[in-house]
């Protein structure tokens, strides 16, 4: 029987990868420590597969074709694009997929009535997927089912649909006949801006949003999160804050329970999000 054994929400700021090599700068020590705690937490639940909910940053997908939600169902996939290697020093990687788990979520002959996913047989994962995996599964030995979410190219799916996605994952995976211990990992940002007037401030562009955001996760307040994440509010918090929506999927996939761990870790990039929902089952 399949079950979601752990849900995590983590950052993927690509500049972290080079900057957190020893010696780690003081302001990033907290981020490294959080990643370490989450790596241990993940190893302890011995996952057979990771469902990774993240947003492609115009690396593979451009608006010639822009799906709202897309599942990668390939047995193997590339990670890291040449411009990410060039700009961020992130290594190219090869990752194993889990086509059976992808099929469970996507459907076989017909899409499930609950969700109309797009799909890819050749996903090429960008830093939003690869950076969390490099920190959390350094040996890259846990098969991955990537779910791309469009948080970058408006019109975006609404916050309600991100909640629906999480609820759908929970309902579909838990109790299915597939023999899998599944970790759901969402990758995103708190308030964050790039290519706008509030980039690189050395602190969050919207500390008030971050406080609300961490609180929604800590309290399991799914309705509050959905109500507080309309397009204009997220855009006001910073033009990349839309990727907080992936954490709404995480919260819903954990049954909208209060997070067992919820923090925004202050560093030069703002507040980096770390959310965890441990399940009580074994």
């Amino acid at each position: 029987m399949a079950e979601i054994v752990l849900t995590l929400g983590v950052p993927h700021t690509p500049l972290l990868w080079n900057l957190t090599k020893p010696p780690v700068p003081d302001d990033l020590a907290g981020v490294v420590a959080e990643y370490g705690r989450f790596r241990t937490m993940l190893a302890e639940v011995r996952p057979d597969a990771v469902v990774l909910v993240a947003t492609d940053h115009f690396r593979q997908l451009m608006t010639a074709n822009m799906p709202a939600f897309l599942i990668g169902k390939a047995p193997q996939m590339r990670g890291t694009h040449p411009n990410e290697e060039r700009e961020f020093g992130i290594p190219p990687v090869t990752l194993s997929g889990d086509p059976d788990l992808a099929r469970l979520v996507l459907g076989h002959h017909e899409l499930p009535t609950g969700f109309d996913f797009s799909f890819s047989d050749e996903p090429w994962l960008d830093h939003a997927f690869v950076v969390p995996l490099l920190y959390l599964t350094p040996d890259l030995d846990v098969p991955v089912v990537p779910i791309y979410t469009n948080c970058n190219a408006p019109p975006l799916p609404s916050a309600r649909r991100f909640a629906d996605l999480g609820g759908y994952l929970r309902a579909t995976i838990n109790g299915s006949a597939l023999d899998r211990r599944v970790a759901v990992i969402a990758s995103g940002h708190l308030a964050y801006e790039l290519g706008g007037p509030r980039q690189f401030l050395g602190e969050s562009p919207d500390g008030e949003f971050d406080e609300h955001a961490v609180s929604w996760m800590a309290q399991g307040d799914l309705d509050g999160a959905v109500a507080g994440c309309g397009f204009d509010r997220l855009n006001d918090a910073g033009n990349l804050t839309f990727q907080f929506l992936n954490f709404i999927t995480a919260l819903a996939s954990a049954g909208a329970q209060p997070a067992t761990h919820a923090a925004g870790i202050a560093c030069r990039f703002g507040n980096e999000p770390f959310f965890a929902w441990k399940q009580n089952r074994t």
């Binding site: 290519g195 007037p197 033009n239």
Partner: protein, 113 residues
């Protein structure tokens, strides 16, 4: 005004090392070739595209204030100018400050794709 074409241009330059080198070497020549490419489209996706005169000038001059005010996608714009202008003639920090100064008077243009 063709926001998609501007975004496509920024994307194609930034995401391919060869295109980036070629654009840096000869911006006007690269743009001319890019627009010519759209005249002979190859499946599945046509290379290149067409720009208005103002867009063409902004792309050739790497005029980030103009591109920003046109509604170029902020993420694509930042990575384009970072790839083209860093490390020569400036650092990331210098470029960031220059960008923020240049777009400060411009409010927040709609970047809906």
């Amino acid at each position: 005004m063709s926001r998609y074409m501007v975004n496509k241009f920024l994307w194609e330059v930034e995401s391919d090392n060869e295109s980036l080198a070629s654009f840096k070497h000869d911006p006007a020549g690269f743009v001319a070739d890019w627009e010519l490419g759209a005249a002979t489209p190859q499946p599945p996706y046509p290379a290149g595209g067409s720009l208005t005169a103002a867009e063409r000038q902004a792309c050739i001059a790497v005029d980030y204030a103009a591109l920003y005010s046109m509604g170029a996608h902020p993420y694509l714009l930042w990575h384009f100018i970072r790839a083209v202008l860093v490390p020569d003639p400036m650092t990331v920090a210098e470029l960031s400050e220059a960008l923020k100064r240049a777009i400060a008077p411009l409010d927040r243009p709609d970047f809906t794709t």
